[in-house]
């Protein structure tokens, strides 16, 4: 059975316990030796997923001009979202990886085998969610869904640490039912919530979200495509160009010879 994360962003309080738990369990060093560099446009100090942040809690500060708040998630609001690798059903990183380092596990998660990765960075360019990053060791890194914990019957560290149950871990169909129920509950409160990560997003995400604003507000693409989508067309168009080159090249090479022969024949005739 496919396992994954369901993240209810409306329950997230931005405590970053998931980020800390991820760092602790996976023994990930702090970026820049722990030096904090503020972005200047958000209270979020880690800013993005990276080789050092496999979990990242996004702060989206939506403050109205008059700074009024009209109730739960109305008016001025802070949206929080604990972002992570989506462990896509059709994973662009896995598809493109030339070394076979990226595999799909028995839990349907996407895992990078560090002993096989050679740091070619194809996965970095392929991931439509900007998840995979290259670490200081020259290898690609991202969330492993705590593969080692799953193999021992434990849930991922982030889900265990989450104090509000914003992050839930379990079987995908069960989680999707929970997400649909939560969306229905929010809609009753006139909040325009929806599930991001059903089959319409690259075949489905094994880490999906309940969101209350447009995907791009959360830094997510609305309808991402696999990097490979245009590859066949690219090769076909290259084939057309190659054929045009071959024809014009051969004609140019032959034409000169023909012209010469014609010239020689004319001279002979005279």
């Amino acid at each position: 059975m496919a396992k994954g994360f369901y993240t209810d962003t409306t329950a997230c309080i931005g405590c970053k316990a998931c980020q800390v738990a991820c760092h602790q369990w996976n023994d990930i060093p702090a970026a820049e030796g722990g030096r904090t560099e503020l972005s200047g446009d958000s209270y979020d100090n880690t800013q993005t997923l990276s080789a050092e942040n496999w979990r990242h809690v996004k702060f989206i500060e939506q403050i109205t001009e008059d700074r009024t708040q009209e109730g739960f998630l109305q008016g001025s609001r802070w949206l929080m979202m604990s972002d992570v690798c989506k462990h896509c059903v059709h994973a662009a990183c896995l598809e493109v990886c030339p070394t076979g380092a990226i595999i799909r596990t028995e839990f349907d998660s996407v895992f990078i085998q560090q002993d096989a990765c050679n740091g070619c960075r194809a996965c970095v360019a392929a991931c439509p969610f900007g998840v995979v990053d290259i670490g200081r060791d020259g290898k690609a890194h991202k969330c492993t869904m705590c593969y080692d914990r799953l193999q021992n019957g434990r849930e991922p560290a982030c889900a265990q640490a989450c104090p509000t149950e914003s992050i839930r871990f379990g079987d995908i169909p069960d989680l999707m039912k929970l997400a649909d129920a939560r969306v229905a509950q929010l809609k009753e409160q006139h909040i325009d919530a929806y599930v991001y990560g059903k089959e319409d997003i690259v075949g489905g995400l094994n880490a999906f979200y309940v969101l209350v604003d447009e995907p791009h507000v959360y830094g997510l693409p609305e309808k991402p495509e696999l990097g490979s989508k245009n590859v066949d067309e690219g090769f076909a168009l290259s084939g057309v160009a190659a054929a045009a080159l071959a024809v014009t090249g051969l004609v140019s090479f032959r034409k000169s010879r023909m012209d010469e022969k014609a010239g020689a024949a004319t001279e002979d005739h005279h």
Binding site: D41, Q47, A92, E95, V96, P98, T99, G100, A101, D115, A116, C117, N118, G119, C120, R121, A122, V124, A125, C127, P128, F129, G130, V132, D133, I134, D137, G138, A140, P215, V217, G219, L220, P221, E222, P224, E225, L226, G227, S228, N230, V231, E233, G234, F235, L237, S238, A241, A242, A244, L245, A246, T248, G249, L250, S252, F253, S256, R257, E260
Partner: protein, 340 residues
């Protein structure tokens, strides 16, 4: 997340938000030299197939250059890896040595094999040029200077070539077709590699493979013309004229494909043609690299050899700058050029 990226996401629902893969000068050089090597091998195969004895020098030059160039390409690709000693993981399953690993749907995996096959073909052709009688070709003095090489040539290469020459012409034709195919594949796949990413401008540029392929061919034509003229073959020389005629076609197609690509990209192509890279694009790639060589008959580049060499240099400069703009601009749109 950077506000500019959020704007892109809002405007382009189909786009992804892939991080920049930090491709830099190694990749740019590889794309340029790979295109050049691929073009040289393909041109040599075509000239060999339909040319005459006077074209032999150009064929030999192309074969002498293609193999060293692909060796440089291999070195560039290797040092660009985060773990260079694991370069062989691109071709062999690291956990099931020596089982080969090929994912034909992945341009980078397919490309690794293209480089490999190309290198083997280019190596054979390179050895073939060494078997030729030492003459006034580039590097021929080495054949007589180094005793071991002269012995290897006399005892191994020359007899081997004689045997190969006795093979049916169908075999030679097939080999030429393979060499041409490998050359075109090497020149073109790098563009498709770019298309196979999730960076907005790259992903939507379906014509990038065609563009790189045409650019690889045009730069290879230019390099051959340049070298032939330098070796005393004048602008009126038959081979130089043949290459010049073919190059005009290649550059013309390149301009057409570039225009079609920009039109099809619309606003998504903005990184290529605006900002600091826009200057390089319009002046370097379009102006110097395409318009001047195409209009060389009307623009005063100088008569005879000067005109040919200047046009050829323009094509080479434009081809290199094309890779700079295509690789760098979608990754670092706001970075001043002098900081790269």
């Amino acid at each position: 997340m950077h506000p500019a990226l959020l704007q892109i996401l809002a405007a382009n629902p189909q786009s992804g938000v892939a991080l920049p893969p930090r491709w830099g000068w190694y990749v740019i050089l590889y794309f340029f030299l790979g295109g050049l090597a691929g073009g040289l091998l393909a041109i040599a195969a075509a000239l060999d197939a339909v040319g005459d004895d006077r074209d032999r020098e150009a064929v030999r030059l192309a074969h002498r250059l293609a193999f060293p160039l692909v060796l440089v390409c291999g070195a560039l690709l290797t040092i660009d890896l985060g773990q260079p000693l694991r370069f062989w993981h691109m071709l062999i399953k690291s956990n099931r040595f020596p089982e080969p690993l090929l994912k034909p749907w992945s341009p980078i995996s397919l490309g690794s094999w293209i480089v490999m096959v190309f290198a083997i073909i280019a190596f054979v052709e390179f050895l073939g040029t060494l078997a030729d009688a030492p003459g006034d070709n580039a590097g021929d003095d080495v054949l007589t200077k180094w005793a071991w090489l002269a012995k290897f040539r006399r005892d191994t290469l020359v007899p081997a070539r004689e045997r190969v020459r006795s093979w049916p012409s169908a075999v030679h034709r097939t080999w030429q077709a393979l060499a041409a195919l490998a050359g075109l594949a090497l020149a073109g796949y790098t563009g498709v590699l770019v298309t196979g990413t999730s960076r907005v401008a790259w992903h939507n540029a379906r014509l990038m493979g065609a563009l790189f392929l045409l650019s690889g061919a045009s730069t290879a034509y230019a390099l051959l013309m340049l070298l032939l003229v330098r070796r005393g073959r004048g602008a009126a020389d038959t081979t130089v004229r043949k290459l010049g005629a073919a190059d005009q076609w290649a550059v013309g197609f390149e301009l057409l494909v570039l225009a079609l690509m920009l039109i099809s990209l619309g606003a998504l192509g903005r990184p290529f043609w605006s900002g600091g890279f826009g200057v390089v694009f319009w002046l370097g790639v379009v102006g110097i690299g395409l318009i001047i060589p195409l209009a060389r008959h009307w623009i005063a580049l100088g008569p005879g050899e000067h005109g040919v060499t200047r046009a050829a240099r323009c094509v080479l400069i434009g081809g290199f700058l094309l890779r700079v703009v295509i690789v760098m601009s979608p990754q670092y749109p706001a970075v001043p050029l002098w900081h790269l």
